[in-house]
């Protein structure tokens, strides 16, 4: 980043990429690419530093071999078209489907089996060590991590039917 213009932040001098210097585009093969100060990165990887609390700020931009190119302080400062590109990429890279309905919730041998609806799609998964793998975020969203390494979110627990909600609630504190 020798010739890259950067913004500095705070006394530690954290450096960010200027939104005006970079240009995100889709390469001919459908991957997100970046032109930064005249240099082309034909495919880049976007990573959230604060995936739950700041989904579109502090976005790390890396080359495909994980070398960091730089960091965007706030993706929303990008031109609308580019922001929507970045947003689409982030949302596809971070897969955390929203549970719309809990159909059943059962315990077997310390593992908790959920049967849920995600939109119109029915699926089931199991959670091990539930007190560790169900978390409530400061904004009230409930996050569930299943055994395979998938994440699910329930933005508003009040909307889950009361019978199953009562079964889940004891694990949420």
């Amino acid at each position: 980043m020798d010739d890259t213009k950067v913004t500095q932040s705070g006394f530690l001098g954290l450096e960010f990429i200027e939104p005006g210097d970079c240009c995100f585009y889709t390469n001919p093969h459908g991957f997100i690419a970046l032109r930064l100060n005249g240099k082309d990165y034909p495919r880049v990887k976007l990573t959230r530093a604060y995936p739950y609390t700041e989904p579109f700020a502090y976005i790390g931009i890396e080359e495909t071999d994980d070398k960091e190119i730089g960091m965007l302080k706030n993706a929303e400062e990008l031109p609308a078209e580019q922001f929507s590109l970045v947003r689409k990429e982030l949302e596809s890279r971070y897969f955390c489907p929203v549970i719309t309905e809990v159909l059943s919730f059962k315990e077997k041998m310390g593992h908790f089996y959920f049967e849920v609806k995600i939109g119109e799609h029915k699926t089931n998964f199991a959670v091990r060590d539930i007190s560790r793998n169900v978390r409530t975020l400061p904004d009230g969203t409930t996050l569930i991590f299943d055994m395979d390494g998938n994440r699910y979110s329930i933005p508003d627990l009040e909307k889950i039917d009361s019978k199953n909600r009562r079964k889940i609630e004891p694990f949420l504190y």
Partner: protein, 722 residues
């Protein structure tokens, strides 16, 4: 999920737009094809494709084909996307495709670690192959009963004794009825004659006899069933333990040590308790229930119905209540563990807390958690103290009803007073089994879980099978890696295309970054795992054709961490050769430079070591390990970081011992500190699971490749340390 779908088809669950779908990727006739919700998303042959590669994102991943001549992945072709549920299967497919690209051969996708139940599609609990929803409990228990077969006679006797004891107990209310009806309140009025007194005395004597008889029978039955229980759980423990000993590391590594220990100790006890305690009670209480119901029906059908009708309602209420109470206490338990863990954190990290001056913040954090716990537990106590008296009251309600209606029946002459007394006494007998039956589901569930776990160990197939006709091994000590490919996880090959011949008596040093595959190569030589592709041969015989026991007799190992078993120094050295004489052990210790420090110990070779024993330093343990290897006198020697984490002086002593040990033996050594490999005949440099360089130290330094860089880097850090 069917295993025998079309050739090489695996499921995936995200369409190109990232929405959940039902998809299948197939690989047949050199064409990769992905279909989501029966619509084709991708189809292409492998012309111009370098490799198939799996990229993992967060909570999902992509399968991509990498075209030739493009290293930055910017021209990849996305085959499909998937959530983490499919990651293993896709990885397997990836391996099959890459194998095809490299060798032109199609192999079948192995679904070796099923993660979902093939019948209901629900996730399986890792380490347990039976689905918690599909497993038939009747099958489990009938199979468990077979385990009890050797004890069937004792069990029968024990049950008979219990039934007799039940009989004794059942006599008591009947005697009471006779006492009331014939002597205390007979229909024709009381007659206080000598005959009456004799009658009362007789009944009193019979009462004492039946009480005493009942107790004695119960005691004998108890003694017998305890004996059966101990023998049964001992059998079960040995079976499970034996099985664990014979399992391969691949099978064992899926389970933690704690889990295995629990299976040997806790699960077997759980099953014993179920069969000897609960099983006994089931017979006793079930029989009691039937006998009492029959007697009650004979005494008064109307009253009996009055008592029996509420029972199903009562059982349902108890069940529901249990579920609810369980949830409440779960919550309390969670609060409790949260408060405890906060406290634990603060106390353990007290230096950090104090040095940042955060005491107040931490106190309020704990106070908050503690308050919540207090709230929940007081609410639970309140609930408890409010509900249970009510339950007791409703349970007793049947009795009040019987008193009321029965009393009227007595007055109307439809029933005698004795019959009513007998009835109410039997009623108490009836409630006991009911109370017990309401806790039965919990017992059943616990026992079923333990049975599943135990049967799973018993049923585990050996994945490293010995051949039926093992080839003899006259180890000269030549080791050959022939086109070896291997990965612990299906989708992560750790070793690829390994071709290497190690000559008898040669010392090979394995060099490379951590994770390059050095330890894996060693594990393969010891056949702790089997290769995925290719073979490892010793003196021309594939490891799969050698009896595993014979193989390990010919290989000696010194690990970085030496595990000492509880026992004396002698025991630990002689572990390699249990019949070693005292002289042999001393000689081995001398060769290993261990004799000197052992003699300094007040108890010499009798010093207890291991857990609860004398604390030996790392270097001392290492020398004991070397002595073990010396005593074993193997043709092939493996040194896995044998001299790391030691101070230079100790290292010198150990190096000296090792030099004596490696003489005339084929040796494969791993060392991070490259200087310790200076005696190696050849060095093999591994990089990303492939052999990058082979040659002597001199040659490799001249090549200025990876090895040169590693040596230079170490010299740098050594300088910095100085």
């Amino acid at each position: 999920m069917q295993k025998k779908d079309i050739d090489n088809a695996v499921r995936y669950d995200l369409n190109i737009r990232g929405e959940l779908c039902e998809g299948t990727v197939t690989f047949a006739d050199g064409i990769v094809c992905a279909c989501a919700d029966s619509r084709e998303e991708f189809s292409r042959n492998l012309e111009g494709i370098k490799e198939a590669r799996q990229f993992t994102d967060i909570g999902c991943g992509r399968l991509e084909l990498v075209p030739e001549g493009c290293d930055d992945f910017s021209q990849n072709l996305t085959v499909c996307r998937f959530s983490m549920a499919s990651v293993n299967d896709i990885g397997e497919l990836c391996k099959v495709i890459n194998h095809y690209i490299k060798h032109g051969k199609i192999t079948e996708v192995s679904h070796n670690e099923a993660q979902r139940c093939p019948e209901c599609g629900k996730p399986l609990i890792p380490g347990i192959n039976a689905c918690m929803f599909c497993v038939k409990k009747t099958y489990l228990f009938s199979r468990a009963l077979k385990l009890m077969k050797p004890y069937s006679r004792q069990l029968l006797i024990s049950s008979l004794l219990l039934i007799l004891a039940d009989g004794c107990a059942a006599v008591v209310p009947i005697l009471n009825r006779v006492l009331t009806d014939n002597y205390l309140a007979p229909a024709g009025g009381i007659s206080a004659g000598a005959e009456t007194y004799r009658g009362i005395f007789l009944i009193a004597a019979l009462l004492i006899l039946s009480y005493a008889g009942g107790r004695v029978l119960t005691i004998f039955s108890g003694i017998l069933s305890n004996r059966i229980g101990s023998m049964f759980s001992n059998d079960l423990r040995l079976t499970v333990y034996d099985k664990i000993q014979t399992l391969s590391l691949t099978a064992l590594s899926k389970k933690t040590a704690g889990d295995l220990i629990k299976r040997v100790t806790r699960d077997t006890t759980q099953i014993r308790d179920f069969f000897t305690d609960q099983g006994k009670y089931a017979i006793e209480q079930g029989l009691m229930f039937i006998i009492v119901t029959i007697i009650l029906l004979f005494t008064s059908p109307l009253l009996t119905l009055l008592v029996l009708v509420p029972i199903p309602i009562f059982i349902v209420v108890i069940f529901k209540l249990w579920g609810y109470i369980h949830l409440r206490y779960e919550r309390q338990w969670k609060m409790d563990s949260r408060a405890t863990s906060i406290l634990h954190d603060i106390i353990k990290g007290i230096r950090v807390v104090k040095s940042f001056g955060n005491e107040k913040r931490e106190i309020s954090k704990f106070a908050n958690a503690s308050e919540k716990l207090a709230d929940v537990s007081s609410s639970n106590e309140r609930f408890w103290s409010l509900t249970f008296p009510f339950i007791g009251f409703f349970m007793g309600a049947g009795e009040f009803l019987v008193m009321f209606i029965g009393g009227r029946m007595v007055l109307d002459g439809e029933m005698t007073l004795g019959e009513l007394t007998q009835f109410t006494m039997f009623l108490a007998y009836l409630y006991n089994p009911i109370r017990w039956f309401s806790s039965l589901p919990r017992w059943l569930a616990n026992a079923a879980t333990s049975l599943i776990k135990i049967f799973e160990i018993i049923d585990e197939e050996h994945d490293l099978k010995d051949t039926l006709s093992p080839a003899p091994l006259n180890a000269g000590g030549q080791i050959v890696f022939d086109e070896v490919q291997f990965g612990y996880k299906a989708y992560e090959p750790v070793l690829e295309d390994i071709n290497l011949t190690i000559n008898p008596g040669e010392m090979i040093g394995l060099v490379g970054h951590s994770g390059a595959g050095k330890s894996t190569m060693i594990n393969l030589i010891m056949r702790l795992y089997d290769t995925d592709v290719g073979s490892v041969k010793i003196d021309g015989v594939s490891l799969k054709d050698i009896d595993q026991h014979v193989l390990r007799e010919n290989i000696g190992v010194v690990f970085q961490e030496t595990f000492l078993f509880s026992g004396s120094v002698y025991d630990n050295i002689a572990y390699a050769k249990p019949d070693a004489t005292y002289e042999e052990v001393i000689a081995a210790a001398k060769t290993a430079n261990a004799h000197e420090f052992i003699m300094k110990l007040p108890d010499g070779y009798n010093t207890p070591v291991g857990e609860n024993g004398h604390n030996l330093s790392g270097g001392e343990r290492q020398r004991i390990a070397i002595a073990r290897a010396v005593l074993k006198n193997p043709k092939i020697l493996i040194l896995d970081e044998a001299t790391s984490s030691l101070d230079p002086e100790t290292e010198g002593k150990i190096q000296e011992a090792l030099n004596r040990l490696t003489k005339n033996r084929t040796t494969v050594a791993i060392a991070h500190r490259l200087s310790t490999l200076r005696n190696a005949d050849r060095l093999v440099v591994l990089e990303h699971g492939k052999i990058a360089q082979v040659g002597s130290h001199q040659q490799l330094m001249e090549e200025k490749g990876i090895y040169y860089n590693l040596v230079m880097a170490q010299r740098q850090t050594a300088k910095v340390k100085k």
